[in-house]
Amino acid sequence: MGDVLVFAEHVHGKFPKTTLIAFAAGQDAAAKLGGSCHAVVMGAGGLDALASEAASYGMTTVFQVEHARLEHYVADAYTAALAALVQAKGIDTIVATATAIGKDMTPRLAARLGAPLAADITGINADGTVVRPMYAGNVFATVKLEGAPRVISVRATAFDAAAKGGAGSVEKVAATLDEAALKTRFVGLEEIKSDRPVLTEARIVVSGGRGLKNGENFKIVLEPLVDELGAAMGASRAAVDAGFVPNDLQVGQTGKVVAPELYVAVGLSGAIQHLAGMKDSKVIVAINKDEEAPIFQVADYGLVADLFKAVPEMKDAVAKLKH
């Protein structure tokens, strides 16, 4: 059997938790499909430290691919460089986490390789079949990927982050890029700065819905509770649609999928597509004045109350607990 290759995404010179999850998924894939688990780190240069760090997560070989056109992630350049590596090394299975980059790149890579794709998988079975949610998580499909290579993107909540262990080797590989075929230009990234934990990594997530009524109330009502809990802030699609908060806070089928230890849903009804993004949370709390709201059907603790009264009260009660 051929080997597994993990695409190791990095941000500001570090691996986010989602990449450690990809390492774990890659190792799981290698254990079940056979072969060794390698990783690839790509960029314009200066990747030595990241490559050796990747090797310390039990990757057999870390391929370090550097090229000026890989300075920023752009689908066409990254796909071309990655496909060339896959072919040169005889890789059978490519694994990436379903982040914004993973979702953008893996289908393009699959098309370039003529390979089957399983998107956003939640598990790998002992027989090598994979499980993926469909229909907003109302269906779990078991899928068999025929032939090799094959491409898998992994749902971040479905695997635990890899732990350090073992020391693989690093191999520098020259990128082969037909620059004339690269037509996309990276113009810029406007980062949303926040001191709060990253939504997909937080231990506690507090999400608001249309019940908050406007963006101002996210700030003055919800945020004090978010910060008192040291939580990340999320939102329902309805709140994003209404323009209360930016889309990168959206939790749900078409937004981010989270599974924190505690998920507090405030003033959101619990539409099917929202539940798809949070129902694997360990403990779910719902605060809503409508006792018929579907969110109560998945909540461990439900409080039927006016959020404008309950949320500040909860913030005070949490503060008191700390002292």
């Binding site: 689908a75 079949t129 899928v143 990927l145 996309t184 990168d248 709390v285 059907q297 603790y301």
Partner: protein, 251 residues
């Protein structure tokens, strides 16, 4: 300019989906079928370009069962000029759909293709990227803003990525996939619905395109998700925080 927008027939997002007892698929009865919400955004964006750029044409394309005519008519009623339905069995995998689309794109030669970022049934989020690669075209997925240069030769796209907004620029033709905040789709007007009946809706049998649509990601079975039990109602914030601390031990 010529813009091609995709339209997929999917279950209404509020429909509760049930798996057939034998796990071979979903129960198709009592489902209300709609245009994939992200495709509606794609049609709307195409129409907005047409309204700005004189002489533009918006062509819709769908790949699926014959009944998808209904969703194409909805797009025509919104204001698209004509539609193409590639009649195929439902449930083709993303790479097969991308190959079919590429055939249509090669024959229509649009300047721009706008597609939903994902269909809310399969949830793969893949066809746009795959078609772009097969064509050797640039792609911009998860678009929240699309701007065309004055000569309509270049697109600048703002994308919703992890941690912020990214801007890409590329020469046309290219493929853009839509995110939620790109626009708010219009409703079809009554005159629009009347006019749509007379617009061209061409059908092509998938077999006539000569593409490989054989599945490589084979569905073994479908299952419903594990049920989550509803918990308890609490009477007050005080009780809630107390239980989170002492019983659930999460704060």
């Amino acid at each position: 300019m010529k813009i091609l927008a995709t339209v997929k027939r999917v279950p209404d997002p509020e429909t509760s989906i049930k798996v057939k007892p034998d796990g071979s698929g979903i129960v198709a009865d009592n489902i209300k079928w709609v245009v994939n919400p992200f495709d509606e955004i794609a049609v709307e964006e195409s129409l907005r370009i047409k309204e700005k750029v004189a002489g533009s044409e918006v062509v819709l394309v769908s790949v699926g069962a014959k009944v998808a005519q209904e969703q194409l008519r909805t797009g025509l009623a919104m204001g698209a000029d004509r539609a193409i339905l590639v009649v195929a069995e439902d449930g083709l995998e993303p790479l097969a759909v991308a190959r079919v689309l590429v055939k249509v794109i090669e024959s229509e030669q649009p300047d721009l293709v706008v597609m939903g970022k994902q269909s809310i049934d399969d949830d793969s989020n893949a066809v746009g990227q795959m078609a772009a690669e097969l064509l050797g075209w640039p792609q911009a997925t998860f678009a929240s803003k699309l701007e065309l240069a004055g000569d309509q030769k270049t697109a600048t796209v703002t994308r919703e990525v992890d941690g912020g907004l990214e801007t890409l620029s590329f020469p046309l033709p290219g493929i853009v996939t839509t995110d939620l905040r790109l626009n708010e789709p219009r409703y079809a007007s009554l005159p629009g619905i009347m006019k749509a009946r007379k617009k061209e809706l061409k059908e092509i049998e998938v077999g006539a395109l000569g593409v490989d649509v054989a599945p490589k990601a084979r569905l073994v079975k479908m299952e419903p998700p594990p049920k989550r039990q509803a918990g308890k109602k609490v009477a007050s914030v005080e009780e809630l925080v107390h239980l989170l601390h002492t019983e659930a031990k999460v704060i």
